[in-house]
């Protein structure tokens, strides 16, 4: 049979072109590797573009007392001590240098009086630590990385979706993908692969994530035998838009609270006094999200089922300058002038703390040659991520992944591609065109979102999670039968059919892990187990594919060295 696919070869193949993928690409390229970047969207449109508040880095430009040690401690506390301590340490130590590097590549941050990078306050950070550009820090970051990467010579395969990792006698050999534009196939041969595909927000109904966030990378790694970790920890950002219906879930940056925004219920009470009187609105995201949720559930919510977030006590010009995109977003989409009145906000599915289990130094997964960075990887954030720690994560571990992937490629030879695996990948991908019946991928997706929203949300119970697993099993059967109409030319219904498969795998991993963790920690809140359990502080949930079945096991966390313990003990 003649090959009905094109073949490309790279030392390092990077899947995903957000901050982590691009930073990895730049680093691998600097090591002399040939680098290909595959992304589902156009270059420069990845979710990093949506990041608003800033990059957390202990540069001490505003608060001179800040240091990596405090950043490390804040990160561990925010993550309820489940974090991989080595990742938290490297992240805190290296992020200032990564920010300076961005500046040297052309990024322009807001400044202090003395001309240094300005830093703002954010939830869970002891000091003013977030380097920012108004409320569009992510755009600044992705443009800088994109321009740098393109100029340095990365090959970018845009609007191209990887559906399977290929192996040769158990070793990673490449990836199979299709072009979204024309539906044709492409096979990548690569010595190292970096997964930087982001999260899984699209499995929930109310989410700040775009269509791309369907857990692809986690599903690819899982199918290739890699371990997933901490999958029960899904961050619900406390402040998404709640009204009008079409904009429900769109992010309202934490910078609103960082700049002094106040949360109130419909009675006008500043309710954070009840939940975290010390940190108030700048408590960690898990706490604020639960607080808003509880206020609404107990009948103290706003007209459209949220809380009021008010920044109008600040001068209008200040608000427009520091939060320009929030000002426009509310004015244009919700007819609200945030310089004059409050916003209505409520929790929205935002971020996955869990993901592919990686080595802290190299970002390598448990499959040799397969690396992961950014949201797709687990470990740094533990049970709850602090705002601002994501952009710094992308830079620190994107770079480390690129470095290690290039080194791995240098040590490796190109493997051969098994045509049987490609045939199978093709058959699987094309099945929706020949499936009879009327099952629509969109209908299955809507039902999946309801299941995850209602049964695997902010508050969880044994009963709900068991029900969710049963529902997910039914959805899997339905997903296997979806049929699509039209041709292979840019066909979103067909594209969704594959995304569904990835979302279902990852959703199942989330529900399994959430069911097993019989405690409440960080973003994982069990109504039936409302307290922290010290036993669970010492172990991570691991999800792995064995014999085609999803298995869960527990893995003890690594013992922290004494010097780091000492840092944590300080106040």
């Amino acid at each position: 049979m003649t090959a009905n696919y094109e073949t490309r070869e790279h030392d390092v193949l990077i899947i995903g072109a957000g901050g982590a993928g691009l930073r990895a690409a730049i680093e691998a390229l600097a090591q002399g590797a040939s680098v290909g970047v595959v992304c589902k969207s156009l270059l420069g449109k990845a979710h990093t573009v949506m990041a608003e508040g800033g990059i957390a880095a202990a540069m001490a430009n505003v608060d001179a007392a800040d240091s990596w040690k405090t950043h490390f401690r804040d990160t561990m506390r925010g993550g309820k001590f489940l974090n991989n301590w080595r990742m938290a340490q490297l992240h805190a130590q290296e992020s200032p240098e990564r920010v300076r590097e961005l500046e040297q590549w052309g990024a322009l941050f807001d400044r202090t009086e003395s001309g240094d990078i300005l830093q703002r306050a954010f939830g869970g950070h002891t000091f003013k630590r977030l380097c920012h550009v108004g409320d569009r820090t992510g755009l600044e970051m992705i443009r800088t990385l994109q321009d740098r990467g393109v100029q340095q010579g990365i090959d970018v395969y845009m609007e191209c979706t990887v559906t399977r990792l290929l192996t040769d006698s158990g070793r990673l050999a490449g990836a199979f993908a299709y072009w979204r534009e024309n539906g044709r196939f492409i096979v990548f041969k690569a010595k190292s692969i970096v997964i930087a595909t982001g999260g899984i927000g699209k499995a929930w109904r109310v989410t700040s994530n775009s269509w791309e966030y369907t857990g692809d990378g986690m599903a690819l790694a899982y199918e290739a035998g890699a371990e997933l970790m901490d999958m029960e920890f899904v961050q619900f950002h406390p402040t998404g838009m709640v009204w009008p219906p079409g904009v429900q879930g769109i992010l309202v940056t934490e910078a609103v609270r960082g700049e002094g925004g106040i949360l109130r219920n419909k009675a006008g009470e500043r309710f954070m006094e009840k939940y975290d009187p010390k940190r108030m609105e700048l408590s960690t995201r898990d706490v604020v999200a639960r607080s808003i949720y509880t206020e609404v559930k107990d009948g103290r919510g706003t007209e459209h089922g949220g809380a009021y977030l008010d920044i109008s006590h600040k001068p209008a010009e200040y608000v427009k300058k520091k939060l320009p995109s929030m000002y426009h977003q509310f004015k244009e989409l919700a007819d609200v002038d945030i310089t004059k009145g409050p916003m209505e906000v409520g929790p929205t599915c935002h971020y996955m703390m869990g993901g592919i289990r990686v080595d802290a130094e190299t970002a390598e997964s448990t499959v040799p040659g397969l690396f992961a960075a950014g949201e797709a990887a687990a470990g740094l954030h533990g049970a709850n991520r602090l705002g601002g720690n994501s952009l710094s994560d992308l830079l620190v571990f994107g770079r480390r992944a690129g470095l290690a992937a290039a080194a791995h490629a240098k040590r490796s030879s190109t493997l051969s591609i098994d045509s049987a695996q490609i045939d199978q990948a093709e058959r699987e991908l094309l099945a929706p065109f020949s499936n009879s019946g009327t099952e629509s991928p969109y209908a299955v997706h809507r039902d999946l979102q309801e299941v995850m929203q209602n049964l695997v949300g902010i508050f969880r119970t044994d009963e709900d999670l068991r029900k969710a697993l049963a529902e997910l099993a039914k959805l899997k059967t339905r997903a296997a039968k979806v049929s699509v109409e039209g041709s292979r030319l840019f066909n979103p219904g067909w594209h969704l059919s594959y995304d569904l498969k990835a979302m279902l795998i990852v959703s199942e991993a989330v529900a399994h892990s959430a069911l097993a963790r019989t405690e409440s920690r960080g973003a994982h809140s069990r109504i039936d187990y409302p307290s922290l359990d010290p036993v669970w502080e010492k172990k991570n949930n691991i999800i792995i594919c064995e014999g085609g079945q999803m298995k869960r096991r527990e893995s003890p966390t690594a013992e922290m060295p004494a010097d780091l313990k000492e840092i944590l003990a300080q106040d």
């Binding site: 420069g44 941050f109 807001d110 550009v133 775009s210 992010l251 039209g486 840019f490």
Partner: protein
């Protein structure tokens, strides 16, 4: 529930026609919501590009009622209710399918522009005033609503170059590139780009005109030209 009719282009690079779809309208709904409804219920293969749905990524550009717009920021209740809402692919780019166009040209032009390069031995201190000036250009979301089928690079790239040229620490000079390769001289400052910019960047006044002045100073200033002649450079 109220309904709207969307008249959407369906077709590919060779042929196509508009098709009418009836869509239920919820409060505050935007055109992109309506397109998603069509995908989910009426035409699952309708090709649409989108990402953030919050006006930050610039993916969902289309011609709505004849005007280039971001469909995620175009509210149905801002459009006339008594007639169908036409949604056509961007006229400035070759069609691929339905509302999706071939934008590869943008990436080819962008490659020609040398990125930021700091001056040697520069001190990394910048005043907020300098940052503010450049950030107006840096906020471009690359939606290409401003782009017309032109003989020159187009407003987006002038905005990018302006951001680089006005970066307080940049050490390169892109005047020749602007003049010879990006065709800055072909822009006749009608401000049509500024009018459609969803980020409200004052493209003509703050980017294009200053760049034109720079090119004039560099290449057409009589004194400089005389000086060059004398020096023979």
């Amino acid at each position: 529930m109220a309904e709207a009719t969307l008249r959407v282009f369906r077709g590919d690079s060779n042929s196509g026609q508009t098709v009418d779809y009836r869509v239920p309208v919820a409060p505050g709904m935007v055109v992109l919501d309506a397109l998603h409804y069509i995908q989910g219920h009426l035409a699952p293969d309708l090709a649409v590009r989108w990402n953030c749905k919050a006006g930050k990524c610039g993916s969902c550009s289309a011609e709505v009622n004849g005007r280039p717009r971001l469909t995620c920021k175009t509210r149905i209740d801002d459009l006339p209710q008594d007639q169908p809402i036409t949604v056509l692919p961007m006229k400035s780019f070759p069609r691929i399918k339905d509302l999706v166009t071939d934008v590869s040209w943008n990436y080819r032009v962008n490659r020609k522009i040398p990125p930021f390069e700091p001056r040697k031995g520069v001190e990394w201190k910048i005043s907020q005033l300098d940052v503010d000036r450049v950030q107006e250009f840096r906020k471009c979301i690359e939606c290409f609503l401003c782009h017309k089928k032109e003989q020159f690079a187009g407003p987006r790239f002038f905005v990018r170059v302006a951001g680089l040229e006005m970066h307080p620490l940049d050490g390169l000079n892109r005047a020749e590139l602007l003049k010879d390769q990006l065709g800055l001289g072909y822009c006749n400052v009608t401000k049509c780009c500024t009018e459609v910019c969803p980020e409200e960047i004052r493209i003509t006044d703050n980017a294009i005109i200053p760049l034109k002045e720079r090119v004039v100073d560099e290449f057409y200033d009589p004194l400089t030209m005389l000086f060059r002649k004398i020096r023979g450079s």
